[in-house]
Symmetry: C2
Subunit: 251 residues, 2 copies
């Protein structure tokens, strides 16, 4: 793990936020934009592999992912790791720290990432002055909950093959929803160890399972990443209906 301190810069004005411009998110009213501008404290640029939030610590910041991929995870004392979910552009990080005194999960960058940094103790201001933004935050929390529900179903009740198919399709669809890659393009700087730690499987068994998915023509595993060759087939194997659709807000 890279423990060198991440660099901080401040150079993107909110009006030019690449997320706003992308058309994947709702646009803000002028007063909202003004508030957000004041709420924003800077940007965090994290290299792939670095830790953004650490379990057991208290962070005074909240983050919105501007670009790149990361993942949330928890660890047991003996080193067993469970990846809880992946974070993509538009995702909001650190809300749990507003409720609990310390973080109960960590977040690592999978690729290089840029995050927008907010001050946690102004969160209640936001609720008081901009109910629409507050609603959006709640919206994001409910959506995260929905994803975790699906992951729980997957890990608890799907076979190794079904789980793997679900995960790859899930990642593909989430990425596609924010145009992180083109159809069939390499999906993420993801190792089989990450997949294993997401699925609750061993590395060896994950490898064999991914190979079977490859043999079936559903995916191709590349070096630290994969390509989707037949998303329909993945969903069929997993018995999954795909990501629910919604016009999403962001903060």
């Amino acid at each position: 793990m890279d423990t060198s301190p991440p660099k901080k810069t401040r150079n993107i004005p909110c009006e030019e936020c690449p997320l706003l411009c992308s058309g994947h998110f709702r646009s803000f009213e002028p007063p909202e934009l003004e508030f957000i501008s004041g709420f924003k404290r800077g940007e965090l640029v994290s290299d792939a592999g670095s830790t953004i939030l650490l379990e057991g610590t208290h962070s005074v910041h909240l983050y919105t992912v501007i670009s790149g991929w990361g993942f949330r995870y928890k660890m047991l004392e003996d080193g067993r790791r469970q990846i809880l979910n992946y974070v993509l552009p538009g995702d909001f990080l650190g809300l749990q720290g507003s409720v609990l005194s310390e973080m109960h999960h960590s977040v690592d960058a999978l690729s290089d990432m840029i995050l927008c940094v907010f001050e946690r103790n102004r969160l209640f201001d936001l609720f008081e002055t901009h109910p629409h933004l507050a609603y959006d935050i709640t919206w994001l929390a409910a959506r995260e909950e929905q994803m975790l529900d699906e992951h729980l179903l997957s890990i608890g009740r799907r076979s190794a093959m079904e789980r793997a198919a679900y995960l790859l399709s899930f990642l593909y669809e989430r990425g596609a929803a924010v145009e992180l890659f083109n159809r069939k393009a390499r999906i993420a700087p993801l190792t089989q160890q990450h997949v294993a730690d997401t699925l609750g499987l061993s590395l060896v068994h994950t490898n064999k399972t991914l190979k079977k998915l490859g043999d079936r023509g559903a995916i191709s595993w590349l070096d630290s990443g994969f390509e989707i060759r037949d998303n329909e087939k993945l969903r069929e194997i997993a018995n999954w209906t795909g990501l629910p659709e919604f016009a999403r807000p962001f903060i």
Copy 2:
């Protein structure tokens, strides 16, 4: 599954809400109480075993649990069931339906339950006029997320024995936090099938695992329920630090 229509009554004024009176939740300012009173549409009395919310349907209501136990779950087409979490007094249900067009999980009553019913389409009113209540809802969503994270870690990375110890301790501590039972009292009308479907294990293996926990003196399994005999030992077996503490709000 009991599919008879649940009874609706309206008889508890918010000022006399047993949750408010219990001292386990924050109290409301008079204007908040007034709003809640108007937000409330009635009460839902559900018998043990009945379904309160059903996956795939659209509910126009939101609920707060007043009394009793229930559980949230998802099912695969072939009938495999995964219990996602348990719902106890003070928990808020149905928020996901405000974000998605339909429910993506079901909720069943484990015991007889009383729920407070709210109108979903007035939720945004609440955000506009009562930021503190809005913050509380977000707070509850973040707390649910934290519990799901822990469940994922458990199912993904803990052994059968560790998972079972975690679950029973978790249920015990959640119940204790709202005084649903006294120390060492029978915990819930829970069958081993429920435990199995929560842990992602088969019924048979769950039975054998619970027996081992009994032999170790950590619990006693009773008919449709269990008693905690040594919570410390459970936490030690599970390598779990217990429920995080917080002064909780409710809606």
